[in-house]
């Protein structure tokens, strides 16, 4: 990754009639990074991607790719290539001709085309499948052909619209690693659209979270997880327990808060949110909570509760615990160390949390928790 910005979008808007699909999108993508646009269905991710590709004109705003303003530049003249959600493999062409399609537009000599095609197919581990028909491919193979067909063009930016959503879970996880490796070895900027937070987190250098046409936060996956900029992001990415807190003391780096149930604790301030006033919204990730039969001594804050539900996930166990004074149930996730489920519904338990791992989500909104 370099410091150069390969894509700069400034104040980009897209309206369909009176419907605002994308509003005021300002975003800089660095050369060589793997960037994901993450958001729920219908939030405008695909529209944003298609404006980069040139399939849709922004209603307002500017898209600059590699220093060149894309206004008035048609999709077939842009230095981008796309992997379509449906893969869009040409059904009348075999694998080799699909991959060669774009190269033939460039008038390259036949031998050179063949060389580049077989190299691209090697790269996606489809070496030697040139003469396989488009309709004789599995879902995973189609995905690889689509990838090879776009990458053989050596685009400055590769755009991917939910590239893995049509694959089953195992294959998807495998492809996540393969695509990440490919991206890193080629050094091409990847911009991927996805609604799968795990996919975005495992593959990306940075993630942009979109809600209802608006880009809400752009950060590295770990930052996004640890310091979400608001409640929406916090609940969209991973799971989160929310509870209100009253601010007792504040410094530049910490807040001392009192929350119902857990009592008083000192938590780090979140640089991504507005300064809290008197009240603050607190977030605790389920895996940051300890659950025990006795009051755990080494925690900053503890509270007693009753187990309501237990869900066994294999690698970890989820408990839902009811605590007096907290409106919603508290979710706890515990790694399954010894293949035992220690607590059952109705059991009295203690919960413990360290102040350090509690997330400050800023001024509490009026919305009920």
């Amino acid at each position: 990754m370099t410091e150069k910005n390969i894509i700069e979008m400034t104040g980009v808007q897209k309206r369909f009639g009176s419907f605002q699909a994308v509003s005021d999108l300002t975003l800089s993508l660095r050369e060589g990074e793997f960037f994901s646009l993450l958001g729920p269905s219908g939030c405008g991710k695909t529209t944003a991607l298609r404006m980069i590709a040139g399939f849709q004109e922004p209603t307002e705003g500017k898209v600059v790719i590699d220093g060149q303003d894309m206004d008035g530049i048609a999709a077939n003249k842009r230095p981008t290539n796309m992997v379509f959600q449906s893969y869009a493999i040409f059904p009348h062409l075999d694998v080799g001709d699909n991959v060669a399609y774009g190269l033939r537009n460039r008038g390259i000599a036949r031998a050179e085309i063949n060389r580049q095609v077989s190299e691209a197919l090697e790269m996606v581990e489809l070496g030697g499948l040139e003469r396989r028909g488009a309709n004789e491919l599995s879902g995973g193979q189609r995905q690889r052909v689509a990838l090879a067909r776009a990458l053989v063009m050596r685009p400055k930016v590769l755009l991917l619209d939910e590239p893995l959503s049509a694959l089953d879970k195992k294959l998807r996880e495998q492809m996540q690693f393969e695509m990440r490796h490919l991206q890193q070895s080629l050094g091409i900027t990847f911009v991927m659209v996805t609604h799968d937070q795990y996919e975005a987190m495992t593959m990306s250098d940075r993630i942009g979270v979109m809600f209802e046409g608006r880009l809400v936060q752009v950060d590295a996956p770990a930052t996004l997880y640890a310091s979400p900029s608001n409640r929406e992001v916090a609940s969209f990415i991973g799971e989160m327990n929310f509870m209100p807190g009253a601010v007792k003391e504040e410094t530049d780096t910490s807040l001392t808060v009192e929350s119902p149930g857990f009592g008083t604790m000192t938590i780090p301030r979140n640089p991504n949110v507005e300064t809290p006033g008197k009240s603050v919204l607190l977030g605790i990730r389920p895996e940051q909570l300890e659950i025990a039969k006795e009051q755990p001594p080494e925690y900053d804050a503890t509270v007693e509760g009753v187990v309501r539900d237990v869900a066994f996930y294999g690698e970890n166990v989820h408990y839902h615990v009811r605590v007096d004074g907290v409106d919603s149930r508290i979710a706890i996730s515990v790694p399954n160390y010894f293949h035992t489920v220690d607590h059952g519904p109705g059991d009295k338990v203690w919960l413990g949390v360290q102040g350090e791992s509690v997330i400050d989500l800023g001024q509490q909104s009026d919305k009920p928790i």
Binding site: F55, A75, N76
Partner: protein, 285 residues
């Protein structure tokens, strides 16, 4: 449902069609073959099998001439119709908002009889017809054009108009079936509009084009109404000769022979065309 009752159901469902085809295609064909092997002796039929009719038909230069002309005229009709139908089908499938309305409009010519439409062309193209009157009135010509009617041109024009909807529909269906993201992928890979059309749309619609060509070529070779009404002597086709054999000449065996030969020629041309066109379609990369 088990396999046996599935088969039984299939047989039952296709029974009416089988019966229909059997009675209306197979039976007449057998009768036709039988006739072609007999001989007409004035008012009687000599039923001793002979290939004399075939010999006569194949050696007669008039038959060969009419057969070749029929195939050429039909080929011209096919080319003109499909070439004109393609852009229309393309527009309806990809650009038009009210597809159903457009398709309905296309079928309007069918609401009047075929004969009436042929006569309409006669009125338009005739010596004192609409076209000549308009051109005279505009002062573009000094005397009526005579090359408009009673020749191959008039036959091609009339047939092309009559058969246009049959070409538009199969092509429309084949264009409609193309996944729009394929065209976007072509654009994404650097093709301009023309290149995308030639390298993606066209090869993906070859089946529709072939279907349209066959639907038009095969029946028009055998058309005798249009050539006899607007074709004059230059526009006569093989079917006119066949008609004469079954009518004025009263030589049914020769008529049957000519019909069978026409069928074989058309079948041969059609098969060669299908193989050629499919191969060509597959060669586009």
């Amino acid at each position: 449902m088990n396999l046996r009752s599935e088969t039984a159901k299939g047989t039952a469902l296709s029974a009416p069609a089988t019966l229909y085809v059997g009675l209306l295609v197979a039976a007449p064909l057998i009768i036709l073959i039988a006739y072609s092997l007999w001989t007409q002796t004035y008012v009687d039929l000599d039923r001793t099998p002979t290939l004399a009719n075939y010999r006569e038909a194949l050696t007669d230069p008039l038959v060969r001439h009419l057969m070749i002309r029929s195939i050429l005229i039909s080929a011209a009709v096919t080319v003109v119709t499909v070439a004109l139908a393609y852009p229309i089908a393309y527009f309806i499938a990809l650009k038009a908002k009210k597809k159903t309305l457009w398709l309905l409009l296309i079928t309007i010519p069918f609401w009047s009889s075929y004969l009436l439409r042929v006569f309409a062309w006669k009125l338009i193209l005739g010596f004192n017809g609409v076209m000549n009157s308009a051109l005279l009135a505009l002062g573009l010509i000094d005397e009526p054009l005579t090359f408009l009617l009673y020749n191959e041109f008039a036959v091609v024009l009339t047939l092309a108009h009559a058969w246009a909807p049959f070409a538009i529909l199969p092509i429309f269906v084949s264009i409609q079936k193309i996944d729009p993201s394929l065209l976007e992928a072509a654009t994404d890979l650097g093709s301009n509009k023309l290149e995308s059309f030639l390298r993606v749309t066209l090869p993906l619609t070859t089946q529709g084009i072939i279907a349209a060509c066959l639907i038009i070529f095969i029946p028009t070779v055998g058309d005798y109404v249009t050539p006899s009404l607007v074709g004059g002597s230059d526009g006569k086709m093989i079917a006119n000769l066949i008609q004469v054999q079954f009518g004025a000449a009263n030589n049914w065996p020769l008529g049957a022979t000519l019909s069978l030969l026409a069928m074989l020629s058309v079948g041969f041309v059609a098969i060669v065309f299908v193989i050629g066109a499919s191969t060509l379609g597959r060669r586009i990369r």
